[in-house]
Amino acid sequence: MVSFSPKNLPAADLAVGQLEQGHSLWSDAWHRLRKNKLAVFGGCLLIVLALLCFFGPFFSQSYEDQNLDLGATPPSAQHWLGTDTHGRDLFARILFGGRISLMVGLVASCVALIIGVTYGAVAGYFGGKIDALMMRIVDIIYALPFTIFVILLMVFLKDPMEKVDAWLAQFSLIGDTRGVGKILLLFAAIGAVEWLTMARIVRGQILSVKKMEFIEAARALGYGPRRIIFRHMVPNILGPIIVYTTLTIPAVMLLEAFLSFIGLGVDAPMSSWGTLIQDGAEKMEEFPWLLIFPGGIFSLTLFSLNFLGDGLRDALDVRSSKD
């Protein structure tokens, strides 16, 4: 008795066997993504960096112990990437800074995602005057120079955030709660600026989904707007939403770095990549490694995020030209 296996079945029967194994759209996209070497490389690099930044500070030297006698030193055996002008180990500071920068990137993008999707979906679904009014508001906010807007927002919320800090310190569950308020503030301020483009993209996608028959069927069944929008429309436009969120994270990180550059970043002794770069830019003449290492790691992270985002866009968009 011969046992049948793909190896000794003729080709036609093999095809039938394969036909029965269904491929969902997501698995198709996943296969396309895996074939894109740049995207895979970016994704792996990202995972490595994220693991390093979240677990590294537990094992490395302290990021805030100053050693003023040492001052700024170039890379050595004891301090792998050198020290800054206060004698703090740069490698540890970069790892800790990565925690904050990556966290800000992720959370602020999620804030922008939630606000943007809701706003854009509502505007796109209802259409007509509501849509026109909502998009007008977006246009007006777009015309504001966001630097001033973010600065005003951050200054406006600084005192309430300090009260949040004091309130959190009571619990002392989270160990060191200094500066948590500032970080929350960064989430809110950056998210408040980045949702605009997301809203526009979501609205465009909703407009194209609105005409499809399954939406008409849902309406005929008597579903209310909330159910139609969030259970039927949004899941069908998840592709562009995912892509754009992956591309928003580097934009958010750049914005956080810019805010640190003008002095609105996290307070010392905490570091984010933005404050490290700002510090390095000031002292770069004598201590170039203070700029090159944080700047290099920052750029590397952004590279991986962008490659991943591009790969996702090529994988999820069937119509895009193959390249």
């Binding site: 007008r136 246009d139 007006i140 777009y142 015309a143 504001l144 120079p145 630097t147 001033i148 600065i151 005003l152 200054v155 406006f156 005192d159 580097p250 750049l254 770095a257 810019f258 550059f261 003008i262 770069i277 700002q278 390095g280 830019a281 770069m284 003449e285 170039p288 700029l291 090159i292 700047g295 920052f298 750029s299 952004l302 590279f303 962008n306 490659f307 030209s321 390249d323």
Partner: protein, 324 residues
């Protein structure tokens, strides 16, 4: 077309109005005022300050007075020839600055805007020439080493922030090689490094968008028809493909050019350029109400104007949009 433009200009008035009102009240609600950082003043000085800045009037009166000062009252553009004086030409008065005593916001803008404009135009030139050529070459020679290197370079421009590129360029060319001054804006040679830095980043975005747009267009049937009819490759690119390929770049350029022209804070900080970009940030920190309003209004006007130009350009490039 003319009706479209006129209608758009009419629509900008309410937008500007909302922006002015919003900013006016928003900055006054932020804790801290323009003078809180300085030492206490005697009552006489305080009275003079109040009179000069209209601080003793009730808030609504301050607002209405400010709006009146803002409205263009005359129309003598020829006065601009003598110097960029908005007050003489159009009667627009941005009022005195809170922080820089004895200087009105009009003067500050008149002094700093040309610098930012110059930097902006030079950077735009660099960005367009570098970006467009790189994008077109990458699209035409797709998947060759030309494409890969151009795309990699563009990715670098997007991922490395200006405040890393700038100091690195200064470190390399000004300090180590000594070809340029590290900062300053005195002689023409000082224009090179700042415009290269700013231009490089925008060139990266333009290159990517151009490449994407061109790739989409080059797949279209009408390009195939042009080639079948015997047009040379150059003709196909420049006369047929570029029109459609430039569309995404043009939409991106609207707000981007507004940002470039009104000055980049980062570049001006790094290279110590006396431009308007710095005022955007420092005026908010200083709670200099009038200067904040002045810069916000200027930026909004630029954005609105450029959006109009971009929309007109889009219709010109893509005749299918003409009926919307």
């Amino acid at each position: 077309m003319l009706r479209f433009i006129v209608r758009r200009i009419f629509e900008t008035v309410p937008v500007l109005f909302i922006i002015v009102t919003g900013t006016f009240f928003m900055i006054r609600f932020v804790p801290g005022g323009p003078f809180t950082a300085e030492k206490a003043v005697t009552p006489e000085v305080q009275r003079n300050l109040d009179a000069y800045y209209h601080l003793s009037d009730p808030l609504w009166k301050q607002y209405v007075d400010y709006l009146w000062d803002l409205c263009p009252k005359k129309f003598r553009p020829m006065a601009l020839a003598r110097g960029p004086d908005l007050k003489a030409a159009f009667g627009i008065d941005f009022r005195p600055s809170f922080r820089y005593a004895n200087r009105t916001v009009n003067e500050i803008i008149a002094e700093k805007l040309p610098v930012s404009l110059e930097l902006g135009l030079l950077s735009l030139g660099v960005a367009l020439s570098l970006g467009l050529t790189a994008g077109v070459i990458a699209a035409v020679k797709r998947n060759t080493w030309l494409d890969y290197s151009a795309s990699a370079l563009a990715m670098t421009g997007i991922c490395v922030p200006t405040f890393v590129v700038g100091p690195l360029l200064v470190l390399g060319f000004a300090i180590k090689l000594g070809w340029f001054n590290a900062s300053g804006w005195y002689s023409p040679i000082d224009r090179v490094l700042p415009s290269l830095t700013l231009g490089f980043v925008y060139a990266a975005y333009i290159a990517r968008l151009t490449r994407g747009g061109m790739l989409e267009v080059l797949n279209q049937d009408y390009i195939r028809t042009a080639r079948a009819k015997g047009a040379s490759e150059l003709r196909v690119i420049f006369r047929h493909a570029l029109r459609g390929g430039l569309l995404p770049v043009v939409s991106f350029l609207g707000p981007a050019v507004a940002g470039i022209l009104t000055g980049s804070f980062v570049i001006e900080m790094i290279f110590q350029i006396p431009g308007l970009g710095r005022e955007f940030v420092t005026s908010a920190f200083n709670r200099d109400y009038n200067l904040v309003l002045g810069t916000v209004i200027l930026y909004a006007v630029f954005v609105i104007l450029l959006n109009l130009v971009v929309d007109v350009l889009q219709v010109w490039l893509n005749p299918k949009l003409r009926f919307e």
